[in-house]
Protein backbone atom coordinates (compact mmCIF):
# COMPACT_ATOMS: atom_id res chain seq x y z
CA UNK A 1 0.00 0.00 0.00
CA UNK A 2 1.37 3.33 -0.92
CA UNK A 3 1.42 5.93 1.82
CA UNK A 4 0.08 9.26 0.69
CA UNK A 5 2.87 11.89 0.58
CA UNK A 6 2.55 14.45 3.28
CA UNK A 7 1.76 17.78 1.93
CA UNK A 8 2.15 21.16 3.58
CA UNK A 9 0.63 24.28 2.33
CA UNK A 10 3.21 27.01 1.45
CA UNK A 11 3.68 29.59 4.19
CA UNK A 12 2.26 32.89 3.45
CA UNK A 13 4.44 35.97 2.97
CA UNK A 14 3.08 37.44 6.15
CA UNK A 15 4.11 34.46 8.23
CA UNK A 16 7.59 34.41 6.66
CA UNK A 17 7.97 38.11 7.38
CA UNK A 18 6.98 37.57 10.99
CA UNK A 19 9.50 34.72 11.36
CA UNK A 20 12.27 36.84 9.86
CA UNK A 21 11.41 39.74 12.12
CA UNK A 22 11.38 37.43 15.13
CA UNK A 23 14.78 36.02 14.20
CA UNK A 24 16.16 39.55 13.84
CA UNK A 25 14.69 40.62 17.15
CA UNK A 26 16.08 37.49 18.82
CA UNK A 27 19.57 38.19 17.55
CA UNK A 28 19.36 41.81 18.62
CA UNK A 29 18.13 40.73 22.04
CA UNK A 30 21.07 38.33 22.37
CA UNK A 31 23.50 41.14 21.58
CA UNK A 32 21.86 43.37 24.15
CA UNK A 33 22.06 40.60 26.73
CA UNK A 34 25.75 40.04 25.89
CA UNK A 35 26.47 43.76 26.25
CA UNK A 36 24.55 43.91 29.51
CA UNK A 37 26.41 40.91 30.93
CA UNK A 38 29.71 42.39 29.73
CA UNK A 39 28.97 45.68 31.40
CA UNK A 40 28.26 43.84 34.65
CA UNK A 41 31.65 42.10 34.71
CA UNK A 42 33.73 45.20 35.52
CA UNK A 43 30.95 46.48 37.77
CA UNK A 44 31.21 43.34 39.86
CA UNK A 45 34.77 44.26 40.71
CA UNK A 46 34.48 47.85 41.72
CA UNK A 47 38.10 48.32 42.71
CA UNK A 48 40.10 48.93 39.56
CA UNK A 49 43.27 48.93 41.62
CA UNK A 50 42.48 45.37 42.62
CA UNK A 51 41.93 44.28 39.04
CA UNK A 52 45.19 45.88 37.95
CA UNK A 53 47.12 44.79 41.02
CA UNK A 54 50.74 43.70 40.64
CA UNK A 55 51.63 40.08 39.92
CA UNK A 56 52.87 38.76 43.25
CA UNK A 57 56.09 36.77 43.46
CA UNK A 58 55.74 35.38 46.95
CA UNK A 59 58.38 34.04 49.26
CA UNK A 60 59.59 33.88 52.81
CA UNK A 61 62.68 34.80 54.78
CA UNK A 62 65.73 33.24 53.14
CA UNK A 63 64.09 32.81 49.72
CA UNK A 64 65.74 34.39 46.68
CA UNK A 65 63.21 36.27 44.58
CA UNK A 66 63.48 38.69 41.65
CA UNK A 67 61.70 41.54 40.00
CA UNK A 68 62.81 42.55 36.50
CA UNK A 69 65.44 44.85 37.97
CA UNK A 70 66.33 43.39 41.36
CA UNK A 71 67.48 40.18 42.98
CA UNK A 72 66.28 40.11 46.59
CA UNK A 73 66.67 37.90 49.63
CA UNK A 74 65.34 38.86 53.03
CA UNK A 75 67.76 37.47 55.62
CA UNK A 76 65.96 38.28 58.85
CA UNK A 77 63.78 40.64 60.83
CA UNK A 78 63.78 42.16 64.29
CA UNK A 79 61.60 44.61 66.14
CA UNK A 80 62.28 47.37 68.64
CA UNK A 81 60.68 50.19 70.52
CA UNK A 82 63.75 52.37 70.42
CA UNK A 83 66.46 52.44 67.76
CA UNK A 84 69.71 54.27 67.29
CA UNK A 85 71.42 55.07 64.03
CA UNK A 86 74.76 56.83 63.87
CA UNK A 87 74.32 59.21 66.76
CA UNK A 88 70.65 59.67 67.51
CA UNK A 89 68.08 57.64 69.39
CA UNK A 90 64.62 57.40 67.88
CA UNK A 91 61.54 56.60 69.93
CA UNK A 92 58.22 55.62 68.39
CA UNK A 93 54.54 55.49 69.21
CA UNK A 94 54.39 52.26 67.23
CA UNK A 95 57.04 49.64 66.58
CA UNK A 96 60.26 49.73 64.61
CA UNK A 97 60.56 46.81 62.21
CA UNK A 98 64.09 46.22 60.95
CA UNK A 99 64.44 43.95 57.93
CA UNK A 100 67.83 42.66 56.89
CA UNK A 101 67.98 42.25 53.14
CA UNK A 102 70.49 41.29 50.48
CA UNK A 103 69.80 42.99 47.20
CA UNK A 104 71.43 43.54 43.80
CA UNK A 105 70.38 45.06 40.53
CA UNK A 106 70.26 42.63 37.61
CA UNK A 107 71.17 44.52 34.46
CA UNK A 108 71.99 48.13 35.22
CA UNK A 109 73.02 50.32 38.10
CA UNK A 110 70.15 51.79 40.05
CA UNK A 111 68.42 52.35 43.36
CA UNK A 112 65.85 50.14 45.06
CA UNK A 113 62.84 51.66 43.29
CA UNK A 114 60.21 50.59 45.82
CA UNK A 115 60.27 48.87 49.19
CA UNK A 116 57.35 48.86 51.61
CA UNK A 117 55.70 46.77 54.31
CA UNK A 118 52.07 45.65 54.13
CA UNK A 119 50.04 44.54 57.13
CA UNK A 120 47.25 41.97 57.19
CA UNK A 121 44.66 44.70 56.53
CA UNK A 122 46.45 45.77 53.36
CA UNK A 123 47.80 48.96 54.85
CA UNK A 124 51.10 50.01 53.31
CA UNK A 125 54.04 51.44 55.24
CA UNK A 126 56.91 52.97 53.33
CA UNK A 127 60.49 53.14 54.55
CA UNK A 128 60.85 55.43 57.52
CA UNK A 129 62.15 58.83 56.61
CA UNK A 130 62.97 59.57 60.23
CA UNK A 131 66.37 57.93 60.01
CA UNK A 132 69.14 57.65 57.46
CA UNK A 133 68.83 54.29 55.77
CA UNK A 134 71.89 52.75 54.23
CA UNK A 135 70.11 51.05 51.34
CA UNK A 136 67.58 53.77 50.66
CA UNK A 137 69.08 55.91 47.92
CA UNK A 138 72.14 53.72 47.60
CA UNK A 139 73.24 53.18 44.00
CA UNK A 140 73.50 49.45 43.39
CA UNK A 141 75.80 48.13 40.69
CA UNK A 142 74.61 45.05 38.77
CA UNK A 143 75.76 41.73 40.14
CA UNK A 144 77.23 43.26 43.31
CA UNK A 145 74.82 42.33 46.09
CA UNK A 146 74.70 44.51 49.15
CA UNK A 147 73.42 43.54 52.56
CA UNK A 148 71.81 46.19 54.70
CA UNK A 149 68.79 46.98 56.79
CA UNK A 150 65.46 48.49 55.85
CA UNK A 151 63.55 50.17 58.66
CA UNK A 152 59.78 50.59 58.88
CA UNK A 153 57.78 52.32 61.58
CA UNK A 154 54.39 50.60 61.94
CA UNK A 155 51.50 50.67 64.39
CA UNK A 156 51.62 48.13 67.17
CA UNK A 157 48.67 46.15 65.82
CA UNK A 158 50.33 45.88 62.41
CA UNK A 159 53.62 44.49 63.67
CA UNK A 160 52.43 40.94 64.18
CA UNK A 161 51.86 40.06 60.55
CA UNK A 162 53.79 41.92 57.88
CA UNK A 163 54.81 41.33 54.29
CA UNK A 164 57.69 43.23 52.73
CA UNK A 165 57.14 44.37 49.15
CA UNK A 166 59.69 45.16 46.44
CA UNK A 167 58.89 46.48 42.98
CA UNK A 168 60.55 48.16 40.02
CA UNK A 169 58.52 51.34 40.03
CA UNK A 170 57.71 53.55 42.97
CA UNK A 171 54.71 55.19 41.29
CA UNK A 172 53.05 52.77 38.90
CA UNK A 173 53.11 49.10 39.86
CA UNK A 174 49.96 48.11 38.00
CA UNK A 175 50.18 44.62 36.51
CA UNK A 176 53.90 44.58 37.17
CA UNK A 177 55.93 42.02 39.06
CA UNK A 178 56.09 42.56 42.82
CA UNK A 179 58.12 40.49 45.23
CA UNK A 180 56.18 39.82 48.44
CA UNK A 181 58.18 38.36 51.31
CA UNK A 182 56.06 37.25 54.25
CA UNK A 183 57.84 37.99 57.50
CA UNK A 184 57.40 35.44 60.29
CA UNK A 185 54.29 36.24 62.27
CA UNK A 186 54.80 37.18 65.89
CA UNK A 187 52.31 37.30 68.73
CA UNK A 188 51.32 40.41 70.65
CA UNK A 189 53.42 39.31 73.61
CA UNK A 190 56.52 39.44 71.43
CA UNK A 191 55.66 42.94 70.23
CA UNK A 192 55.08 43.99 73.86
CA UNK A 193 58.46 42.55 74.78
CA UNK A 194 60.14 44.58 71.99
CA UNK A 195 58.48 47.74 73.28
CA UNK A 196 59.28 47.01 76.91
CA UNK A 197 62.94 46.43 76.20
CA UNK A 198 64.79 49.37 77.72
CA UNK A 199 67.85 48.75 75.57
CA UNK A 200 68.22 50.73 72.37
CA UNK A 201 68.53 48.67 69.21
CA UNK A 202 71.43 49.74 67.06
CA UNK A 203 70.65 50.04 63.35
CA UNK A 204 73.28 48.91 60.90
CA UNK A 205 73.97 52.12 59.01
CA UNK A 206 76.52 50.56 56.68
CA UNK A 207 76.00 48.10 53.88
CA UNK A 208 78.31 45.22 53.14
CA UNK A 209 79.04 43.08 50.13
CA UNK A 210 79.31 40.01 52.39
Amino acid sequence: MIEPRTHRAPRGRFVEGLASLGSLAGAGLLILVALAVGSLIPASDENIEHRQRPYAVQGGVGDARSTDKLDIRVAGVRGAGKIKDDDRTHDTGGVWIIVKVRVATRTEAGLIPYAAARDRHGRIYELSSRIEQSLNGRMLQPGIPLTGELVFEVPKDAATDLTVLFADNSLDRRMDRQVEIALPTVDKATVDRWLADAATTLIDTEVSTA
Binding site: S23, A27, I31, L35, G38, R106, T107, E108, A109, R138, M139, Q141, P142, G143, I144, S208, T209, A210
Partner: protein, 179 residues
Protein backbone atom coordinates in the same frame (compact mmCIF):
# COMPACT_ATOMS: atom_id res chain seq x y z
CA UNK B 1 19.89 30.98 3.63
CA UNK B 2 23.14 30.07 5.40
CA UNK B 3 23.99 31.12 8.97
CA UNK B 4 26.73 33.45 7.68
CA UNK B 5 24.38 35.21 5.30
CA UNK B 6 21.77 35.58 7.98
CA UNK B 7 24.19 37.02 10.57
CA UNK B 8 26.71 38.98 8.53
CA UNK B 9 25.49 42.27 9.91
CA UNK B 10 25.90 41.08 13.49
CA UNK B 11 29.45 39.88 12.81
CA UNK B 12 30.21 43.23 11.19
CA UNK B 13 28.82 45.04 14.22
CA UNK B 14 31.18 43.04 16.43
CA UNK B 15 34.23 44.77 14.90
CA UNK B 16 33.64 48.22 16.38
CA UNK B 17 32.57 46.58 19.65
CA UNK B 18 35.84 44.63 19.76
CA UNK B 19 37.79 47.77 18.91
CA UNK B 20 36.13 49.57 21.80
CA UNK B 21 36.73 46.68 24.16
CA UNK B 22 40.38 46.08 23.28
CA UNK B 23 41.43 49.57 22.30
CA UNK B 24 42.42 50.63 25.80
CA UNK B 25 44.49 47.48 26.37
CA UNK B 26 46.18 47.90 22.99
CA UNK B 27 47.16 51.42 23.94
CA UNK B 28 48.71 50.20 27.15
CA UNK B 29 50.65 47.48 25.35
CA UNK B 30 51.90 50.02 22.84
CA UNK B 31 52.87 52.48 25.57
CA UNK B 32 54.81 49.80 27.37
CA UNK B 33 56.61 48.79 24.21
CA UNK B 34 57.54 52.39 23.66
CA UNK B 35 58.81 52.88 27.19
CA UNK B 36 62.11 54.77 27.17
CA UNK B 37 62.21 54.96 23.37
CA UNK B 38 65.28 57.13 23.58
CA UNK B 39 67.52 54.73 25.45
CA UNK B 40 71.02 54.43 23.98
CA UNK B 41 70.60 51.27 21.95
CA UNK B 42 72.41 51.86 18.65
CA UNK B 43 76.19 51.66 19.14
CA UNK B 44 78.81 53.51 17.16
CA UNK B 45 81.58 50.98 17.69
CA UNK B 46 84.99 52.59 18.03
CA UNK B 47 88.26 50.74 18.72
CA UNK B 48 90.77 51.79 21.34
CA UNK B 49 92.64 55.04 20.56
CA UNK B 50 90.47 55.88 17.55
CA UNK B 51 88.63 59.20 17.50
CA UNK B 52 84.92 59.22 16.86
CA UNK B 53 82.69 62.20 16.19
CA UNK B 54 79.54 62.33 18.29
CA UNK B 55 77.14 65.08 19.27
CA UNK B 56 79.33 67.87 17.92
CA UNK B 57 82.52 66.77 19.66
CA UNK B 58 85.04 63.97 19.38
CA UNK B 59 86.16 61.35 21.87
CA UNK B 60 88.48 58.40 22.08
CA UNK B 61 89.42 55.87 24.72
CA UNK B 62 93.07 55.68 25.67
CA UNK B 63 93.04 53.23 28.56
CA UNK B 64 90.70 50.65 30.06
CA UNK B 65 92.36 48.68 32.81
CA UNK B 66 91.93 47.44 36.35
CA UNK B 67 92.51 50.24 38.85
CA UNK B 68 94.94 48.81 41.34
CA UNK B 69 96.85 50.64 44.04
CA UNK B 70 94.02 52.99 44.98
CA UNK B 71 94.68 55.06 48.09
CA UNK B 72 92.61 57.10 50.49
CA UNK B 73 92.95 60.85 50.82
CA UNK B 74 95.61 60.37 53.51
CA UNK B 75 97.69 58.21 51.21
CA UNK B 76 96.77 54.98 52.99
CA UNK B 77 95.90 51.95 50.87
CA UNK B 78 92.23 51.88 49.94
CA UNK B 79 90.56 48.53 50.55
CA UNK B 80 87.86 47.56 48.11
CA UNK B 81 84.79 45.69 49.42
CA UNK B 82 84.95 41.93 49.02
CA UNK B 83 83.99 40.44 45.68
CA UNK B 84 84.62 43.68 43.80
CA UNK B 85 87.29 44.95 41.41
CA UNK B 86 87.81 48.54 40.32
CA UNK B 87 88.37 49.63 36.72
CA UNK B 88 89.62 52.86 35.20
CA UNK B 89 88.83 54.22 31.76
CA UNK B 90 90.71 57.21 30.44
CA UNK B 91 88.92 59.16 27.73
CA UNK B 92 90.29 62.01 25.66
CA UNK B 93 87.97 64.68 24.35
CA UNK B 94 88.25 67.14 21.48
CA UNK B 95 85.32 69.37 22.21
CA UNK B 96 86.04 73.07 21.68
CA UNK B 97 82.37 74.04 21.80
CA UNK B 98 81.71 71.91 24.93
CA UNK B 99 78.95 69.98 23.19
CA UNK B 100 79.70 66.80 25.13
CA UNK B 101 79.58 68.36 28.58
CA UNK B 102 76.33 66.64 29.53
CA UNK B 103 77.32 63.18 28.39
CA UNK B 104 76.93 59.99 30.36
CA UNK B 105 79.71 57.45 30.53
CA UNK B 106 79.14 53.85 31.56
CA UNK B 107 80.87 50.51 31.58
CA UNK B 108 79.38 47.43 29.91
CA UNK B 109 80.21 43.80 30.50
CA UNK B 110 79.84 40.92 28.05
CA UNK B 111 76.28 40.30 29.19
CA UNK B 112 75.30 43.90 28.50
CA UNK B 113 75.06 44.86 32.16
CA UNK B 114 75.60 48.57 32.67
CA UNK B 115 77.80 49.97 35.47
CA UNK B 116 77.84 53.63 36.46
CA UNK B 117 81.00 55.63 37.26
CA UNK B 118 81.99 56.83 40.73
CA UNK B 119 80.15 54.07 42.61
CA UNK B 120 79.60 54.18 46.36
CA UNK B 121 82.01 51.24 46.68
CA UNK B 122 84.86 53.68 45.91
CA UNK B 123 83.79 56.27 48.48
CA UNK B 124 86.90 57.32 50.35
CA UNK B 125 89.29 56.51 47.54
CA UNK B 126 91.36 59.35 46.18
CA UNK B 127 90.34 59.66 42.57
CA UNK B 128 88.86 62.07 40.12
CA UNK B 129 85.14 62.19 39.38
CA UNK B 130 84.28 61.30 35.83
CA UNK B 131 83.14 64.18 33.67
CA UNK B 132 82.98 65.03 30.00
CA UNK B 133 84.08 68.62 30.66
CA UNK B 134 87.59 69.93 31.19
CA UNK B 135 88.65 70.70 34.75
CA UNK B 136 87.67 74.19 35.92
CA UNK B 137 91.28 75.19 36.42
CA UNK B 138 92.55 73.63 33.20
CA UNK B 139 94.34 75.88 30.76
CA UNK B 140 92.61 76.10 27.38
CA UNK B 141 93.81 73.25 25.19
CA UNK B 142 92.62 71.53 22.02
CA UNK B 143 92.05 68.28 23.93
CA UNK B 144 91.58 67.18 27.52
CA UNK B 145 91.59 63.82 29.32
CA UNK B 146 89.46 62.53 32.15
CA UNK B 147 89.48 59.31 34.15
CA UNK B 148 86.32 57.36 34.96
CA UNK B 149 86.29 54.81 37.78
CA UNK B 150 83.94 51.85 38.04
CA UNK B 151 83.48 48.68 40.03
CA UNK B 152 82.47 45.27 38.72
CA UNK B 153 82.00 41.91 40.39
CA UNK B 154 85.25 39.95 40.66
CA UNK B 155 85.51 37.65 37.70
CA UNK B 156 83.71 40.02 35.37
CA UNK B 157 85.64 41.88 32.69
CA UNK B 158 84.61 45.02 30.84
CA UNK B 159 83.49 44.59 27.26
CA UNK B 160 83.24 48.29 26.39
CA UNK B 161 82.82 51.80 27.66
CA UNK B 162 79.71 53.60 26.52
CA UNK B 163 79.27 57.32 26.08
CA UNK B 164 75.94 58.90 25.33
CA UNK B 165 74.19 62.22 25.08
CA UNK B 166 70.44 62.29 25.55
CA UNK B 167 70.08 64.47 22.46
CA UNK B 168 71.82 61.83 20.34
CA UNK B 169 69.87 58.78 21.48
CA UNK B 170 69.37 56.08 20.42
CA UNK B 171 72.93 56.42 19.10
CA UNK B 172 75.76 56.06 21.56
CA UNK B 173 79.49 55.61 21.30
CA UNK B 174 80.73 52.14 22.20
CA UNK B 175 84.45 52.34 22.92
CA UNK B 176 85.94 48.86 22.86
CA UNK B 177 89.25 47.91 24.42
CA UNK B 178 92.02 46.15 22.50
CA UNK B 179 91.80 42.36 22.27
Amino acid sequence: MSWWRRNWWGLLALLPVLALALGQDAKEVRDRARENPTDPTVPIVTPLASWVGYGGGEVRMLVLKEATGLTGYGGEPFALPGGVRAWRATLEFRDPDEKLGGCQVFLLDGAGRRFEPDPAELRGAKKSYGSCSPAFDAAPAPTFRNDFFFVMPSGTRPAAVGLSLATQHPNYVRLVPAG
